[in-house]
Amino acid sequence: MSPGAGPTAARADVAEPVTVAVIGTGAIGRDLVSKIDRSPALDCRLVAGRSPESAGLRYAESLGYATSAAGIEALLAAPRPFDVVFDATSAASHRDHWPLLEPLGTLVIDLTPSRIGRMVAPTVTGVSAATGRNVNLISCGGQASVPVAHALAARFPVTYLEVVSTVASDVAGRATRMNLDEYVATTGHALTAFSGVSDVKAILNISPAVPPATFRTAVHARMAGADPVQVRAVADRAAEEVRCFAPGYEVTACTAVGDRVTITLQVMAHSDVLPPYAGNLDIINSAAVLVAEQYAARPDRMSRTGVAS
């Protein structure tokens, strides 16, 4: 994220940093560590993975952070609970992790499509964690599509929504590949929850193209009386809001033929560690860091966590 862009920077100089741990050292975990490293509001105390040889752990070490290959056990063995834990593992792992983390009073930010916590898409739901200790970031396709789907449904009589995302092969890690079913279910669930449209479908393509394809999401909708100019205006306004925390988010095409509308969104990554085409990881991580930063800015967080730091 570029300095001075949006709400992250605006909240970055709040009182005292919160203590943070990251579990999962794939591409998502690595980019998270780099974003946390840049945030004055977040103090990274531990990065945990499962494999001592992982590039993600080595990267965290190179930035001077404590690391462990003991996975969730390393987090539980910490002398004091962390204020915030980012879970960048897999949906199945998160289902195991949550019951262990819940009693600690930690704010858990879940980057897997586990569908356990309260779903957050910052421009639609806000980023407050007031109603729960588990915040779910839905999916990369959900982060890309929900703002536009929400805006469309608020303005037009949408009867069907469909979201097709394409992710470059080399930034789709093993957890993503094993979680396709959860991705489809969780993204669809979020579309319905935030648009009110019950008939929805989510699809994920993994593209092996060389050079790699930039992360893109097509939002297809059926609605009566779709005017392309109005649709484009609604999409552009939604995109502008998202750019406050994910500056590489753009509407690249917009068509309306008959009752069928297609809006194509592209996300370029603004990251220290990711290639520009990895917008899928950038948008979900930017949203996650925003949640943590806003939590850090909350005056009541000490009493909520019970942690005197």
């Binding site: 469909e162 394409t166 590949r177 489809v184 993994i206 593209s207 092996p208 193209a209 060389v210 097509a218």
Partner: protein, 337 residues
């Protein structure tokens, strides 16, 4: 003589040619005819498989459940097959298909992305269903890479593994090299070949595949399929027999099934139209044809240029939304990126 097991995806891959609009009566009639011809496996479903009915690739006239139960009822001897792309269909779709009596599942992945099928192949293996893995757009990978991916699929539980020539790009020597490499890598696991006819090579490629060790070969009645169509089944079977392979299929009943398919499934049998040749040369999935032609005409651009540009961008099946961008770019309007 070597036995080749014929899979017939007329009622699945043929859907691409009619925008996934095959009705239940047509499905039943063809399934009965294929069954009478003793075709070993009759595959049915949306063209892009279970759960794929969508605006992106086309909404089907009939739901997965209806299609599967209709064809199940029509088959006495033939086994029923279906197809699924991870990221489009899910394990829940597989579970429902098992309940409908599907015998053989094909899990499709792009040629270099076998790991996407790991979970679904595992799910099917645990459920006791027969699961195959097919590597699509296989012209985009070397024989060595395909062999490695095929071995990985077997490790995940695939009971047969092979390639689709999704763009109809191969010549027989390409097929020989790839099937040979895969057969060597997977030892006794049956190897699959599925050809497309964009360059008029589908039957020749399929015979080359069998000669290189493929034990399962796909063909569709009248070549029914996307673009220029697939390997024409009623040509493939007698040509394989003349080449020294057995299929166990009844020739006259097969010809009857093909005639019925021409009458009842398709507005016209596929031909190697100019656009299909371009699609094959460009290495673009044949199923893109309708949308490329439509969107190009609306924007006043040459669809041949669109195909070659899509090939340059290495579009894979499922990325139909990319056509909108390419057309807009070639017509010099509508994109910011």
């Amino acid at each position: 003589m070597t036995r080749v097991v014929i899979h017939d995806p007329t009622l699945r891959d043929g859907q691409h040619a009619v925008r996934h609009q095959l009705g239940l009566t047509a499905l039943r009639r063809y399934a009965e005819a294929a069954d009478a011809a003793r075709i070993p496996v009759v595959e049915v479903g949306h063209g892009n498989g279970l759960g794929a009915s969508s605006l992106q690739v086309g909404q089907a006239a009939a739901g997965d459940d209806e299609m599967l139960s209709t064809v199940r009822d029509a088959l006495r001897n033939s086994r029923m097959g279906t197809f699924m792309l991870p990221g489009w269909g899910t394990s829940e779709d597989l579970r429902r298909a098992i309940a409908h009596g599907v015998d053989v599942f094909r899990v499709g992945v792009h040629a270099t992305e076998t790991s996407l099928a790991e979970r679904h192949l595992g799910f099917l293996r645990d459920a006791g269903a027969e699961a195959h893995c097919v590597l699509m757009m296989s012209h985009m990978a070397t024989p060595g890479a395909l062999a490695e991916q095929a071995a990985r699929a077997v490790g995940y539980g695939a009971q047969a593994v092979g390639i689709m020539d999704s763009a109809g790009h191969f010549l027989p020597s390409d097929v020989t090299a790839r099937i040979g490499a895969i057969a060597e890598a997977v030892d006794t696991t049956p190897v699959i070949f599925h050809g497309h006819n964009n360059l008029g090579m589908a039957v020749a490629n399929s015979v080359a595949a069998a000669e290189a060790g493929a034990l399962i070969v796909d063909g569709c009645a009248r070549g029914f399929g996307a673009g220029a169509g697939n390997t024409q089944l009623e040509v493939l079977v007698p040509v394989l027999e003349r080449s020294g392979f057995t299929t166990g299929i009844d020739l006259y009943a097969l010809l009857d099934a093909a005639d019925l398919a021409e009458r009842e499934l398709m507005p016209a049998p596929p031909v190697t139209a100019s656009m299909s040749i371009v699609s094959g040369l460009a290495g673009v999935f044949s199923g893109f044809k309708h949308r490329v032609v439509e969107l190009s005409a609306a924007a006043g651009v040459d669809p041949r240029d669109v195909f070659f540009e899509l090939g340059r961008r290495q579009a894979v099946a499922g990325q139909e939304d990319l056509i909108v961008d390419v057309v807009a770019e070639l017509s010099g309007r509508g994109t910011d990126g």
